[in-house]
Structures are given as C-alpha cells and as structure tokens.
Symmetry: C2
DNA sequence: AAGTGGTCTAGACCACTTG
DNA sequence: AAGTGGTCTAGACCACTTT
C-alpha cells in the first residue's frame, strides 16, 4: 500500500498549504524521487485524487491542485437541473446571516460535542430569475474563524470556493437524504409559494478530507420546473 | 488505448454468453496472451469493469462475471433507506402486468421509434410490512421476448436478476430524476395514503452496456419513514 | 505446492503543450 | 526542442485460496 502513503502525503500538502489550490505539483519523476517510489506508484496515487477531483491533470502541462470554481461546484455538488436536463448556475440572494448554538440535530450532523457556536446562513437561489431553492446552511464557528456577513457577502466565488480560499477547507464529498414534504411557512414566503405545495427537502452533510464533516445544509426545492438528478454508475 | 479494446472484448464475451454471470474468467496471464498485451494492460481493463461492478475479483480465487444478486441490486440501485440509514430489502407485491403501446414519453426514454409494444408492470414495495413504494416499470417487448406474468412472478431473484438470467440483459447504470408532488389517486390507494400527501416521484432510465436504455421506471415513494439517499464522491 | 490476484518496479515510447 | 502527462511492457515479489 505504498501508493496510499503517497496519496496521504499529497493530501497533507494540500491541507497544510504547501500545495495551494490552482498550483502545479512537481512532475511525476520528481514526486517519485521525493517519495522513493516508482513513477507507476505515484501515478496510482494521483489517479485516485484525480478521480476525486482533488487534483487535475492536463496533458503536456502538468498536474494541479483542484480549485473549487463554479464549474467544479456545478459538476460535483449542484444536482438541480431543468426539465431539459440543463443545469444553470443559480443567482444567490442572502436572506439571513446569524450566529447561534447548534441544535442537537446540527451538532450530530457536524460531529460537534455539546452545543457549540455555529453560523446559520439562509439563502434564496434563483434560476431564470425565479426563486426555486431555499438553503439553510450551518457551519461550526470554530472551523471558520473570522467569518462575518461581510466576508460572506463579498465573496467572489461559490460558497465552497470561499471555504477553500479563506479557510483552507476543501469540500470533497457529500451525503444527501431527500424526501418530499409540504412547504413550510418560511420557505413558502421565500419561494413565493402557496401553502400546501409539495417540495423536496434535501439534507446534506458535506465533508472535507478524511470524511470530516464541514457543513450541514437543508435545501428546500420547488420542483415544478426543475428536478434533482442522480447518476448511478461505478462505485455507488 | 489498448486496454479499451480489451475491455470491449470482455464486455462482448459477457453479452454473447461466452462468459456467463458467476463464471470465472481466465487468469490474467492467459488473458494477456489471448489479447497479445501485457498483464498490466489486462489489469487496467479489468480494474474499470470491477469499478462498474461488471466483474468481481477475489484474491487467490480468480475474477468472475458479476451476478445481479440481491446484494448488488441493493448496493447499486436501491437508494431508499430508513431514517436510521439502514436499507432493507423490500417485499414486492405485483399489482398489474399488462402489454400495451409505448406512450411518447416512454418511447423517448427507451429510445424506441414510433409506438412499439411494451410491458407495463406495477408493483407495490413493502418495508417492514408497510407499503412504501409504487413502481411503474416499462420495458420494450422486443427486448424481453417471451416475458409473461407467470415468468415474472415466478422469478427467484430480483427483477434486474431476471433481466440478466432470462434475457441476457445486465443493467450497469441508471439515471434518475427526482421531484416532489402530491400523491395521485392510484398511488394513494396502493400506498394507503390520504389525498394531498406529498410524495417523491422518481423517474429512472436504466441502461445496459453501451448506454443502451433497457428499462423506464417511475417510483412513487411515501417518505414519511424513509429517505432517498445519494452519495456524492469521485466521478459524479 | 500450485495457482490466483495485489502491488511495485524501471524503464520505453507516444501525444500534447510551451517556449 | 524540452518538458509534461498517457500508455504500455515485462518482469518481480507478496498475500491469499485451494488442493
């Protein structure tokens, strides 16, 4: 399992900031020398990290640390698409930004002990100018020190891009649980829906490396014009 | 791209019946000789087929053609789980088995020209003895020649297992679109739900090799006790 | 003991990008 | 032309399973 050790070291370099998002890695022969393994072993480690979108290879140019840009976010973490299957980048409108104590459910999802301080962010996402998604985001205050409404609002990239560039936290995977419910009063108001409308409720726990929970998010989706899309192939 | 050719040939062997589900493949050195490539190239082809669950490796024993048993079905294609996250194999109750002409929507999903003949199967799936899912399955009659209600009812394995063992069709991937709606009169009756209940509606197109559509399925799920679970990692 | 897959090596040559 | 990743080779040794 030499390649596992190489993979762990590459991840450690990213977490420690030795390898910053967007930066190039040393070439494969140099990595092989540095780790005292053959090129094939380096390739196997890099292969897996590329499959997880942590690294990006460009033939003839080099291998780079993956940046959480819009494209990556849409491809990997945004599963809402129109009836035609086309996925559009949503316009995000901040509703509320507050700091409070984690509920029991939130603490459990984030792996917190007791009721630690969390940031709660409510957003409305618009597609084609119409409000479609109500996001309620919960993150541990200790994991995102110095976050303020101002920092949050003035971000230039996606929310996950902010996590990565401002706090060094790269989201690499997420689990979601989806169910149908009748829209709540608050979501109905934000999404401009009448009472009694069925909506999707999506609970997401997003993880950084080593399956460490970083974000808990509840999304309420008006699915009159869009679907939640899921592809089942290879490793489920 | 030699390993691609090896992979195609291995798939062709499975489709033609040369390699039957559950049967062992020749060992890697024999395969390498047969295809005139090195073992490493064979391994790369087999690696991908293992990732897609088409082949199964067992160290020290050999490599086998994947059988669509309950375990594989549950792991790869059944995404409904209880609130505790545990997934239970459902009891299936046949409601109706009919033969009719494909609607436009069904023909499009299955890639049929015109309005060909299809089998329509309605099932009720029970979890812990309670009806939770109403499945409406549509498959092309030409793709499943000789299928009857009797054959369908007397199957010993899963539905996808029947496709594989009786018709040589292995389901390898599926796309799903999920939304919330109010339960229909028919589904409400089958699931013992009052009118006005929100339910999940899942449209699935299941594919065999080469992304050839084999089944169109609409599942209506009562999500009061269960969730639709989705994991986002590596290749989305 | 014999046979299998699992890992690793140390190269070779090719395709692509950049200067 | 030089440097990069992409593919392929032809072995070696190990861990595991079966006989």
């Amino acid at each position: 399992m030499l390649y596992r050790q190489v993979k762990r070291q590459l991840i450690a370099d990213i977490q420690s900031g030795v390898a910053a998002p967007g930066a190039a890695l040393p070439n494969e022969t140099d990595l092989a020398r540095r780790f005292n393994v053959s090129i094939g072993t380096v390739r196997r480690a890099v292969d897996e990290l590329v499959a997880e979108h942590v690294l990006v290879r460009q033939q003839g140019r080099g291998t780079f640390v993956g940046k959480m840009d819009r494209e990556r976010f849409m491809f990997q973490f945004f599963k809402i698409a129109g009836r035609d299957g086309v996925s559009e980048f949503p316009q995000v409108r901040l509703h509320t930004f507050t700091r409070s104590r984690a509920t029991r459910e939130e603490a459990q999802a984030l792996g917190l002990h007791g009721t630690q301080s969390v940031f709660c962010i409510d957003n409305v996402l618009l597609l084609k100018g119409r409000p479609v998604i109500h996001d309620h985001i919960v993150i541990a205050a200790t994991m995102f020190p110095g976050l303020t409404e101002d920092v949050f609002t003035k971000r230039t990239a996606t929310i996950y891009g902010l996590y990565q560039s401002a706090f060094g936290i790269t989201i690499v995977e997420a689990d979601e649980r989806v169910r149908a419910e009748l829209v709540s009063l608050e979501s109905a108001r934000l999404l401009n829906l009448p009472a009694g409308m069925p909506v999707l409720r999506i609970e997401r726990v997003a993880y950084t490396f080593d399956r460490k929970p970083a974000e808990f998010r509840i999304s309420v989706v008006d699915t009159r014009d869009v679907d939640y899309v899921s592809r089942m192939r290879d490793a489920a």
